[in-house]
Amino acid sequence: MFYQKTANNSISKRGLAVLLIVVLMFSMCSFFSLTEAYGAEDPAVTVVNPMDGSTVYSSSLLISVKLTAPETIRVNLYKQVKNDADGKPVPLTIDEWNKVQSEKTAIVSGAAIATEPSIQVLQGWVMDTVFFTSTNNLAFFTKKVENLSGGVYKVKIDTMGSGDAVLYTTEQVVFIKEKAAQPVQANVFENSQTGTVSFLQNLLKSIFGR
């Protein structure tokens, strides 16, 4: 009986310790995760566009979300900002965003001493929140957001439950750059025939038929 009690105590202590570690790790992961998800992602929600981590060379952004179940989603687009020395919100640069992500990774892996990133990232308002309800097993939410300036943006999709309850949250990050910053494409007709060759070829064709 005693033995049993001791064994039970030792099992419960060990179990509690494991549980605490699991809870601690889970909460740390939740807090510092790269996607900064507030909850699990909805398996019925797929962000078709933009692709997570993609770069768009345009002042407009297409948001396209695929729903494979009848449900209601709440769609938001935020610009990632920080407060400057005067406390005014300024856009986060792509380099700053990358730095924050590296710091978060280091914190999670235990490589860094700091407990939080050097820049506090805030969510800047871009557009009014949009609700979309699907009544079918296949539906698409599409919206073009215009007049965007360069920076880091986050598309956030909440799956709504009854009332204002959020069941799932899906997020994607996209980098917006000016169209002029687009890498110069290689000449499409680089390997085409030279004008003279084509001209002669056409001339011969016109003389001798096709």
Partner: protein, 499 residues
């Protein structure tokens, strides 16, 4: 003092005048009696005119692309699917800015133009840059376009057979690009110019961009690997129109029918038999059926005549013959006096001798009004002779127009809601034989265009119905073509038709 006999001469003169007046009156009354004319409605014009001839329509007036696409070079696009005509061609000097055909004419005035075939990939890359593209659902021979719009096409362009798409890209400003969909070939027509300030395409691009609907490729919106790159309009707001219509016979009555019939039979009208049946169909027949006109209760007029000995003509000549025939047989003036514009929607050429071409026309009111099942006008020309003529004009009664926001019923959601119904109809019609993919993939692969279109839906036996703005999906697979119509208000199916 009067000369002797003067009084008698005056009397004789008056008698002579009276005789002439009586003689002319006799002729006139005989004519009225013979032609069965109501004297109260008689005008001098009718007495002098043998057959009413309406203004002749030029081939350039009936051609217009079915879609105009802009690429903004950043992955976003613009489309114009309604009034493409004002960007394509104008009979006057392009005072509001150059049109596409005018810009092409300017391009062809350059010297040393040569042509090279390019790959599909090169074509896609160059039109993905800032560009302007016109799409013809019915491919047209380049030679035909050159003749119609007086483009000085050099002999080098003879390699290009048909034009399904014609594009100008600011990524290659010295070139024009052609897609021949039937042959699966792509061409680059290279000129001398490479001056952004001088090309008329620049102001056309700017003018078009203002009025174009936002559009994205289907693949980007749906994310399906199989989805094709057809552009889907995403308009915030657009005019939604619903019109009830009746037909020419219901409005114009027997007078309209007889006057139209007379244009076909001319002097032989008095020798034409008129057979009326219980359903309200009137058949006008000359001889043993050499020439027959059937006027049905629903307002359709169908004329046929026996083929005489005739000779081969070119496509443009066939079209001119068809349009000339139209001008002599009712023109484009409806029974309620309104004058319609035409849009050539289909050309069916038969490889035979003499040449045989069937032209199908839609009516044009700000945009082409598509017909569910057929067209407004069909003219078949064999050699130099018109052998078939079908006229089915609608007469609008009550029209309501209001600005409309697509809301949740975007084209993509209409597709997501109805792809199974679409696939079922297509399979029943013989599409997708021996294909094992899922319905969604099959439908997505075969979509050729998605447009907002004014559609005249099938009429009742009395010839009445509605014309409504709807989503129109054009499907093509192995040469078979079908069009589906869906409500923009509730995404429900409204009909479908073979094209």
């Amino acid at each position: 003092m009067k000369e002797p006999g003067t009084k008698g001469t005056t009397k004789e003169f008056i008698k002579s005048v009276m005789m002439v007046v009586l003689f002319l009156s006799t002729i006139l009354l005989l004519y009225v009696f013979w032609e069965d004319i109501n004297p109260g409605q008689m005008t001098l014009g009718e007495l002098t005119e043998q057959e009413s001839v309406h203004p002749l329509i030029e081939p350039a007036e009936v051609l217009a692309p079915d879609e105009l696409q802009l690429s903004y070079g950043d992955g976003s696009y613009g489309v114009i699917t309604g009034d493409t005509r004002s960007y394509w061609w104008t009979s006057q000097d392009p005072s509001q800015g150059p049109t596409f055909s005018y810009s092409v004419r300017e391009f062809f005035q350059e010297q040393d133009i040569f042509v090279e075939e390019i790959t599909e990939e090169q074509y896609k890359q160059v039109v993905a840059m800032e560009s302007l593209k016109v799409i013809f659902d019915e491919a047209l021979p380049l030679e035909f376009l050159c003749q119609v719009y007086q483009w000085e096409c050099p002999s080098a362009t003879e390699t290009i057979q048909q034009v399904s798409e014609l594009a100008y890209s600011f990524g290659s400003m010295e070139s024009l690009f052609v897609r021949d969909k039937g042959q699966g070939k792509y061409y680059r027509i290279i000129g001398n110019g490479e001056n952004l300030e001088k090309t008329p395409f620049l102001s056309l691009y700017q003018r078009t961009a203002i009025n174009a609907h936002v559009a994205y490729p289907l693949s980007l919106l749906m994310g399906e690997a199989e989805a094709n790159p057809v552009l889907v309009p995403l308009p915030n707001e657009f005019p939604y129109t619903i019109t009830t219509y009746t037909n020419e016979r219901a409005i114009g009555g027997e007078d309209f029918e007889r006057s139209l019939a007379k244009t076909f039979f001319g002097n032989t009208f008095d020798f034409t038999r008129i057979i009326q049946d219980a359903k309200g169909t009137n058949t006008y027949m000359y001889g043993y059926g050499q020439r027959v006109l059937v006027a049905t209760k629903d307002g359709t007029f169908r004329y046929q005549e026996e083929t005489a000995v005739t000779q081969d003509v070119k496509l443009l000549d066939s079209l001119e013959i068809a349009l000339e025939f139209l001008s002599k047989h009712g023109g484009t003036q409806g029974a309620s006096e309104e004058i319609y514009a035409l849009h050539l929607s289909d050309i069916q050429q038969q490889a035979s001798r003499p040449s045989s071409v069937r032209f199908l026309f839609d009516l044009w009111e700000k945009s082409a009004v598509r017909y569910e099942g057929g067209g407004a006008l069909a003219i078949t020309v064999v050699g130099e002779q018109v052998v078939e003529f079908t006229r089915d004009f609608y007469i609008p009664e009550k029209t309501q127009t209001q600005p409309f926001s697509a809301g949740d019923y975007t084209a993509v959601n209409v597709l997501a809601t109805n792809y199974e119904q679409m696939a079922a109809v297509l399979m029943e019609a013989g599409f997708f034989q021996d294909k094992r993919e899922e319905s969604l993939s099959l439908v997505l692969q075969s979509i050729q265009s998605i447009r907002l279109a004014e559609t005249r839906f099938a009429k009742t036996q009395e010839g009445m119905g509605k014309i409504e703005t709807c989503w129109c999906f054009f499907i093509e697979e192995d040469g078979k073509q079908m069009e589906f119509y869906y409500s923009i208000r509730d995404a429900l199916p409204m009909g479908h038709t073979f094209r």
